[in-house]
């Protein structure tokens, strides 16, 4: 506990020192990086023992704020979420030093570093807080510091709009979270989590209301369907290392909230499990379908975050469903898969956002169609991006497959154990999950194929340079993590035992068998690696011995193929979206067709919009805004009037308090 508090103190002082260093860029960066990496070691040192020998640390101090004490608690679930915070931020910070080097010449980066350290500190505090007010304060600091980090390039209107959308939606979520905690607190008569025990005896209606509030509030942060609309806008516009943090860690805070709420509430019914499972599946399908259509590399990755969060919620939903129906094997597999996928997602999404940053850094564009042929010019970064794509498409032998395999196996077990309509439903879920997997292959072959392979599609891409070692090493370490979890999933799963113990106590006897089975996946990952290496060596040896003639690509006899003839991002996904997607999700096309015998210049432009935001939320909220115009007279824009409102409010509350005391 003290180590974690020391980590927070170190981060805060690091933030302060880098602000003081101000325009001395290197000094500010050194302070921030020292604090961030020091804090990371402290967290890792504090958390690893907790995952190996499960126990709960509790601390409580008096503070001046009303409503309970300054209460902290680190149980296995908190430790589970703390470990990724020790890994991604220092790596992204090392990367960012090189990534922002050019920016540092023209602007003051000290506030950026301070906010970065502040975000890390607030992430730790969110997970540790065991008091409602402390939690909400930490949550709000996390939102605001990430808002400022996202609006780094605030001179562009696109960035400002996305950041505003994020701030608005995040505060709508905060409203729901506050409602959840206040309702829970008033039921239990305390704002400390320790005293929330009566909540586990709550009736079904109260449980339903509370869980709905928690699912909505935390789901907004996590990017749960249908609340994710801010995510594909805000994640891509941030600087790449911040995108990595947003997608890899900030969404985890939302997941932590949902899981924490599940622990505070009585065991959820099977219906809730089915609802979470369905929402997760819809999110996964929607996310990957939209990711397939994006021309913007980082927007594609942001939608893939929606997909992966969907998969995690599928695992959680299946776990809840199975726990309620007394299917311990399914519950063990589903929760193990969901939890492992959370760690995996942090690793590979961090890796790919950093990778997308190297592409952006090298070419100056996020548009796939302006890249092409980058693997030749940036072999190191390209290799790492391809590795990350394989992990993200959940292909063996990397880690994405290990966690999805657990969820698949859980679904199969559930399909056998259930009967009738519910078995058909579970089978449908499994097959739709399979479609998510195949669409992921479309999305990521498109991402690497259009950006990295073939010929350069623009002059900028032709002049691209490989990333510096400071940018490459963090990515290498992340890919190494992906490979290790992929090859040794059973060891990683043993770390999850205490968390699974908390989430689904009935499934504990089944855990060892589950882990042993996943060992087979690791073994096959090793066999696959070995076989691939042997065949690759064979081909290389043959190539050395045989004559090798370089030539141009076969173009049906056409001798001078150009990059303009190559398949583009739109044409690659065109056949898929024509045949597979519903009308509402189809991208908007604007074409000028050739009309006369000798056609003039022809244009084709494809733009994929966020259908849910444009068709549902915007009409809804503009309608609401029109209705609210009638209250406009309240908003006079004069300070003394607002002071009067505050006074009336306080007076009213005092009166109410007095009357309530007298029992009126």
């Amino acid at each position: 506990m003290n180590l974690l508090l020391a980590a927070i103190a170190l981060l805060m002082s690091g933030a302060l020192m880098s602000l003081i260093a101000g325009r001395r860029q290197n000094l500010a960066y050194t302070f921030a990086l020292t604090a961030i990496s020091g804090a990371a070691f402290l967290i890792a040192g504090a958390v690893m023992p907790l995952l190996l020998h499960p126990q709960t640390l509790i601390a409580s101090h008096n503070w001046l704020v009303p409503g309970g004490t300054f209460a902290l608690s680190v149980d296995p679930l908190a430790a589970f979420f703390l470990l990724p915070i020790a890994i991604l931020p220092p790596l992204a910070a090392i990367y960012a030093g090189a990534y922002l080097k050019d920016d540092g010449k023209s602007r003051n980066l000290a506030p950026h570093w301070a906010l970065y350290a502040l975000l890390m500190a607030s992430l730790i505090m969110v997970v540790m807080a065991a008091n409602v007010l402390l939690f909400i304060a930490a949550w709000e600091i996390m939102t605001i510091s990430s808002f400022f980090l996202v609006s780094y390039d605030h001179q562009h209107s696109e960035v400002r709009e996305a950041a505003w959308l994020y701030l608005l939606v995040a505060h709508f979520g905060l409203l729901l979270i506050t409602a959840f905690f206040l309702l829970a607190g008033s039921h239990c008569g305390s704002l400390n989590f320790v005293d929330f025990a009566p909540l586990t005896q709550a009736g079904p209606t109260l449980t339903a209301i509370l869980f709905l509030l928690a699912l909505g509030g935390f789901g907004i942060k996590a990017g749960l369907f249908p609340f994710f609309v801010w995510l594909p806008a805000a994640h891509p516009v941030a600087p790449s290392h911040v995108s990595a943090l947003m997608s890899g860690l900030v969404v985890n805070a939302g997941l932590y909230g949902v899981l924490r709420a599940m622990l505070l509430l009585p065991p959820l019914s099977a219906l809730w499990g089915a609802i979470i499972l369905t929402l997760g599946l819809l999110g996964a399908l929607y996310g990957i379908a939209m990711a397939m259509l994006q021309k913007d590399v980082k927007r594609c990755l942001a939608y893939s975050t929606v997909e992966n969060i969907g998969i995690i919620f599928m695992g959680i939903g299946l776990g809840v469903l199975a726990t309620a129906q007394q299917l311990p094997v399914v519950a063990a597999l589903a929760f193990a898969g969901a939890l492992l996928h959370i760690w995996n997602h942090t690793l590979f999404k961090g890796l790919l956002f950093l990778g997308a940053g190297t592409l952006l850094h090298a070419t100056g564009t996020r548009n796939l169609d302006q890249m092409g042929g980058l693997l030749k010019r940036m072999p190191q970064a390209g290799l790492l991006i391809i590795g990350g794509s394989v992990a993200l498409a959940a292909l063996p032998p990397l880690n994405g497959f290990a966690s999805e395999w657990l969820i698949y196996l859980g679904l199969l077990h559930a399909g056998v154990a259930m009967s009738g309509v519910s078995a058909l439903g579970i089978s449908m879920v499994l097959v739709l999950f399979g479609i998510v997997g195949t669409l992921a292959v479309v999305t990521f072959t498109r991402l690497i194929g259009i950006a990295l392979l073939g010929e350069a599609r623009s002059p900028a891409a032709a002049k691209a340079h490989d990333a510096t070692p400071a940018m490459l090493w963090p990515m290498r370490l992340l890919l190494l993590g992906c490979l290790l979890i992929g090859l040794l999933p059973q060891l990683t799963l043993h770390l999850l035992t205490p968390v699974l113990n908390q989430m689904t106590p009935t499934a504990v006897p089944e855990l060892n068998a589950t882990f042993a089975q996943s060992g087979q996946i690791g073994l096959w990952g090793m066999i696959l690696c070995a076989a691939l290496i042997i065949v690759a060596l064979l081909l290389t040896a043959l190539q050395r011995r045989r004559p090798t003639t370089p030539a141009t690509t076969w173009g049906c006899g056409f001798p001078r193929p150009t990059a303009r003839m190559a398949y583009t991002a739109e044409s690659y996904s065109g056949i898929a979206h024509h045949h597979l997607l519903p009308q509402a999700l189809q991208p908007k096309l604007s074409t000028k067709r050739p009309r006369s015998l000798f056609p003039a210049t022809v244009q084709f432009f494809q733009h994929s919009q966020e259908a849910l935001l444009q068709r549902c939320y915007q009409p809804l909220f503009s309608a609401l805004a029109e209705r609210c115009v009638r209250l406009r007279w309240l908003q006079q824009g004069k300070q003394h009037l607002y002071l009067l409102y505050i006074f009336i409010c306080c007076a009213g509350l005092m009166l109410w308090n007095i009357l309530a005391d007298k029992g009126l």
Binding site: G373, L375, K376, G382, I386, A393, L395, P396, W405, Y408, L412, G415, V416, S419, L424, S427, L430, V431, G434, I435, G437, T438, V441, V442, F444, T445, G449, I450, L453, G454, E455, Q520, W524, I527, L528, A531, L532, V535, A536, L539, R546, T548, T549, P550, A551, T553, W554, G555, P561, M565, A566, Y567, S571, Y572, S573, G574, I575, A576, H579, L580
Partner: protein, 303 residues
Amino acid sequence: MLLQLLLHLLIVLLFPPLLLGVITRTKALFAGRKGPPLLQPYYDLHRLWQKGFVISRTTTWVFRAGPIVGLTVPLLAALLIPFGAIPAPFSFNGDLILFVYLFALARFFTASSALDTGSSFEGMGAAREVTFACLVEPTLLFALIVLVRLSGGFSLNQLLGKHLVTSWQSAGASLLLLVIALFVVLLVENCRIPFDDPNTHLELTMIHEVMVLDHSGPAFAMILYGASLKLLVLGALLVRLLLPWDSGNPGVDALIFMAGMLGIAVTIGVIESVMARLQLVRIPQLLIGTTMISIFALVLVLR
């Protein structure tokens, strides 16, 4: 046990190209020609193996990863699937998911390898391959779920185990639908008429063959051998469903399995001779229809 393992490996290593030879011979007989010798695919592989490489200047190591993964994946997948009554050498709970995802890995690198050439034809083929896979995968998964429910096991060995004989009596209709659905999967995944034509010379109309246009020499031999292995591995699913008997003698079991595979090869040859290639836009419709058949098979098992 050891004999079974040996037979399994021998079939994996030596048998697959013969299937291609049988298909070609059947088509030749239908067309009234004598046709090439049955062992022609072996000669072709040998000839390609002796040749040098011609490699496009546009390409990188990803181009070479295509054939490597394309050969390794079917080889490993063949170790997971039982050949008739000869059980798979490796088997564990959930290996069917690994089986499906291994082929996804192969697809990932075949498509990337095609995109690496920068050719519009190969991009076209890659786009078609990955898209049609989205329509084939549901059928395969539904089929596996039906088998999981019928057997109660979670490994391919159990799925295709001895229970099939009794299952044909209790759930014959469902298994029959599965055989139809899996045969369509076999045709699509192995780029056969009516979905794709391995012998066409129009790059615009091809799917799989267009992706490998730029490969040459030993790399191309690896692709051809990998393709024939894939035919064997997916055909093995079908053969076991159709011939679920267990003779008790590994040698006889191997012969039954090989006869079944040759039967499938002849059937493919007949279909290729009597049918024309489907229009590309019709393929998704047919595949969705096949998925419906497999859903129906599942419903019949659940009732």
